[in-house]
């Protein structure tokens, strides 16, 4: 990064908000994934005007910018390429307004997901998308990745909970996409923006829908002697016409890792366990819980445990949501996929996942949104072992290929980012990709907003492709 650019940024937003120390540039060279890029300079805007000023400097010098929230992304979406300017929104963390009657809130992008839910709790409301990282991840990041979460099975993913976004585009204009009213006129540009992974512009204020807390909740843990018995139970629950609030599965290795952390009494000798939550009116909850227990028993559930109180419920959920972070209890590194497969093929695809890992002599841990068919196979390894990266790479690619073969997709909720960018042709034709690229250009004709992500670019940016450490697929 040239001193001229840094100087321009300093005079634009103040020198204490512009960072170029070696330490900070190294920290911002990656998100929570394995993909390491190169940050040119880091900016901490305080408000929309700061964001506009930073983007104006980027435009003047023709430098790319990358938005970053809490840096919990798993697909390299916030990994800067080739010395891009990182625009970190964590200082923009105000909850601007909560309207409990209209059940909506305006928030800045750096507000942490769980902080909003806690803030809304006094109104009996919450923000429904609850990724496992919900205590740490920012709502701006949720918008960028159209994040999911266990409770998105019944409530829908982030897009269903975002009413409007104020967005700074790369040409410096600020636009409002969507609106507080439920059906704003015109194209649903808000819908296009949610999930655009920072490639359309940077959102500086988000209007989210708040959801009433359920009147009654029951959280159940069913455990099985085979993984297939668990996945068959999932299919039968859905086939019986129920949509539980959440329907999650953890296999043995996962149960062991999280039990060592939370001590919630997870059955560490089971092949798999299902965490099922039903919510709504008390009578419906009781009926659904009973039906789920019956279905579980039919498929050979060894035990059915019902959380007695909020403490037990939150402990079970803490276990489920800590799974990725608990990996270092097994090995220091993991490589995670996020494919989605049709529910009826869950058992077969999982068999393949275990087979592929065994063939490469790798440990694999499965923890996933079973109700959505959204798999999270984690290949766990120690990168200091010679030759291990090639094996992990091969296994990862094979898992994606199998998922797509069974009619699945590349990513459920983590985004494409850098990690799965070059797998996009597995799913999309050249025409599809070109159409997506045109949409992107309509928002960002200058190509400054988080370039080189999501869309494999055939020409012009070959250098960027070559320089990403840890990019395997």
């Amino acid at each position: 990064m040239t001193d001229e650019v840094i100087e321009a940024l300093r005079s634009a937003i103040g020198s204490d908000l512009v960072r170029s120390s070696d330490a900070e540039l190294r920290l911002f060279a990656h998100d929570a994934s394995n993909l390491v890029g190169e940050a040119g300079v880091v900016c901490y805007p305080r408000d929309v005007d700061d964001v506009r000023r930073v983007i104006a400097v980027c435009r003047r010098f023709g430098i790319a910018f990358v938005a970053r929230g809490a840096g919990t992304g798993l697909a390299g979406g916030a990994t800067p390429i080739g010395g891009a300017v990182v625009i970190c929104t964590t200082k923009m963390n105000r909850i601007l307004d909560v309207d409990p009657l209209a059940r909506l809130a305006w928030v800045e992008p750096g507000v942490l997901n769980l902080d909003l839910t806690r803030h809304a709790a006094k109104f009996g409301l919450h923000f429904a998308p609850d990724p496992s990282s919900q205590q740490s991840c920012s709502i701006g990041g949720n918008v960028a990745n159209n994040s999911g979460g266990p409770h998105c099975l019944a409530e829908g993913v982030t897009s269903a909970h975002v009413l409007a976004c104020d967005v700074v585009l790369s040409d410096g204009s600020v636009v409002r996409l969507g609106g507080e009213e439920p059906e704003p006129p015109g194209f649903d540009l808000r819908g296009a923006f949610v999930g655009s992974e920072g490639m359309f512009g940077i959102t500086t204020a988000i209007c989210v829908r708040l959801t009433p807390d359920p009147r009654d909740v029951r959280t159940m843990l069913l455990d099985f002697e085979t993984v297939r018995a668990g996945t068959d139970t999932v299919s039968s629950i859905i086939a019986a016409g129920m949509v539980p609030a959440a329907l999650e599965m953890m296999d043995r290795l996962c149960l062991q890792a999280v039990e060592a952390f939370v001590h919630a009494g997870f059955p560490t000798d089971a092949a798999a366990a299902l965490l099922v939550e039903v919510s709504g009116a008390a009578s419906a909850v009781a009926a659904d819980a009973e039906a789920i227990e019956r279905i579980g028993r039919q498929h050979g559930a060894r035990s059915v445990r019902v959380a007695r109180d909020d403490n037990e419920r939150s402990l079970l959920w803490k276990g489920r949501k800590s799974a990725f972070g608990a990996i270092a209890r097994i090995k220091p590194n993991y490589y995670l996929h996020d494919t989605v497969v049709p529910r009826r093929h869950l058992s077969d695809v999982l068999d393949h996942v275990y087979r592929i890992a065994a063939e490469e002599d790798l440990a694999v841990l499965n923890v996933f949104h079973a109700g959505d068919g959204n798999l999270h196979p984690l290949l766990v390894f120690d990168r200091r072992e010679p030759g291990i990266l090639e094996r992990v790479h091969r296994a990862g690619t094979a898992i994606v290929a199998v998922s797509v073969e069974y009619g699945g997709v590349l990513s459920g909720e983590h985004g494409i980012g850098l990690e799965k960018r070059d797998l996009m042709p597995l799913m999309f034709s050249e025409d599809d990709l070109r159409a997506q690229s045109w949409l992107r250009e309509a928002f960002d004709p200058l190509g400054l907003a988080n370039p080189f992500k999501v869309l494999p670019s055939p020409s012009g940016c070959g250098d960027a492709h070559a320089h990403v450490e840890g990019l395997w697929v």
Binding site: S21, D22, A23, E24, R26, L27, F28, A32, Y44, A70, G71, T72, C88, T90, K91, N93, G110, L112, L114, D115, R118, S133, Q135, S136, C137, A257, V258, A260, F261, S322, A323, F324, G325, A326, I327, A328, R329, P332, N333, Y334, D382
Partner: protein, 399 residues
């Protein structure tokens, strides 16, 4: 200057961090600043890069490590059980040895903690200085009363319990020691206090990276309370350090000593399980003050005895919990002296949280079981009491 490595931080400990970021919201300096470099994940990444040789330990890198309050709230939040406290303490001792942190004035000040005479002598000077507005605000001292409580004296050669009196506590919060002694007496227990060699546990020195000094003082502290009677500690920070002697000093004697250490609130909760003691310590007054519980970090995240605070106060006060997962108040032993601006912004969040936690219009009493936190919060205008003092108050005059 950049070629220094953090030799006391092991690569195995560093490898235990997968970088998931679940620690971020639990870190007070991240919360106050929103900056990755001021988060546990950021600091571990800095240690990693420094030790792998991809980052020089320059001024900024040192600053990011030095601004950790060492509250250790990230440890219980970490699903992979990264031993962060051990890592940052190791990093700070490497930095202190290289004279990159803990300036000379701070070292001199910490050295004075063992000198009871100096500490005691400083008190009247401070009291007068405060009246004359000569004490700098950055010292964050609450207004001291003219007269201190009398010192505790040994009442037994071979006591039932030792009351560890410590350094700062004994000068500025002797009232709490007297409460512990009073409760022990009501429970029919004799107590002893350490001689002048057991004047300071060495915790602040360990936090400042002065590991050798801290070990020397710890050894003196251990010798000052012989026998096998429990050692009751009414300062959460000291108690955490003393419970850790077994690991930090790592000798059989240190392990035996550590097992004898018990936090005052934990000890009191244990006493109250005995129905006879519970009867003699039953609240006499019908008053139920509204008490906001502010768990000291080393009570909640390190000793994990904060449940005892609720048990001993139940029935004596209307308890108010803070919805911030036990976030640090910013005091951090000597941290608020070394980094006053950062400490102030951490405290400002906490004070807002405390003030908005209750709709009670009267005086809010904050319960805190650590002297550093109490003084730091009191300096922001809050009324802060140790839980054992609140229990003591509920009993009326001594029988």
């Amino acid at each position: 200057m950049g070629s220094i490595r953090l030799e006391s931080v092991s690569s195995g400990d560093i490898a235990a961090c997968v970088g998931c970021g679940l620690c971020l919201p639990h870190c007070p300096t991240f919360r106050a600043s929103g900056e990755e470099a001021l988060s546990p994940r950021g600091r571990i990444a800095i240690m990693k890069e420094v030790n792998e040789g991809s980052l020089l330990l320059d001024r900024e890198a040192v600053e990011f490590l030095d601004t950790c309050i060492q509250c250790r709230a990230c440890e219980p939040a970490c699903p992979s059980a990264v031993p962060y406290g051990r890592m940052i303490e190791g990093a700070k001792s490497d930095l202190a040895r290289a004279r990159k942190v803990t300036p000379r004035l701070m070292r001199w000040g910490l050295g004075a903690l063992r000198r009871r005479f100096l500490l005691r002598a400083s008190r009247p000077l401070l009291v007068i200085g405060q009246r004359l507005h000569l004490v700098p605000r950055r010292l964050a001292l609450p207004r001291l009363a003219w007269r201190n409580e009398p010192r505790l004296r040994n009442i037994a050669v071979d006591p039932d319990v030792w009351i560890f009196t410590g350094c700062v506590m004994d000068v500025w919060q002797r009232e709490t020691h007297r409460s512990v002694a009073d409760l022990a007496a009501r429970a029919g227990l004799s107590y002893g206090v350490p001689d002048r060699f057991g004047a300071c546990c060495g915790a602040l020195h360990a936090h400042a990276g002065l590991r050798e000094t801290s070990i020397r003082w710890a050894e003196r502290t251990m010798r000052s309370m012989p026998g096998d009677a429990p050692i009751v500690v009414d300062s959460a920070g000291c108690g955490a350090a003393m419970k850790d002697y077994g690991t930090s000093i790592d000798t059989p004697q240190a392990r035996i000593f550590s097992n004898r250490v018990i936090d005052a609130v934990e000890w009191l909760a244990g006493l109250l399980e005995n129905p006879d003691v519970a009867r003699s310590l039953a609240p006499r007054s019908a008053d139920r003050p509204t008490v906001v519980i502010q768990d000291p970090c080393h009570h909640r995240h390190v000793q994990m005895v904060h449940g005892a605070t609720r048990r001993v106060l139940a029935g004596r006060a209307t308890l108010v919990e803070l919805a911030d997962d036990g976030l640090c108040c910013g005091a951090g032993g000597a941290f608020s002296l070394a980094h006053p601006d950062l400490a102030d912004s951490v405290r400002a969040r906490k004070v807002d949280m405390i003030k908005s936690s209750t709709t009670n219009d009267g005086q809010i009493v904050v319960a805190s079981a650590n002297p550093g936190c109490s003084m730091f919060l009191a300096a922001a205008g809050l009324m802060v009491r140790h839980p054992v003092d609140i229990v003591r108050d509920s009993l009326g005059d001594p029988p």
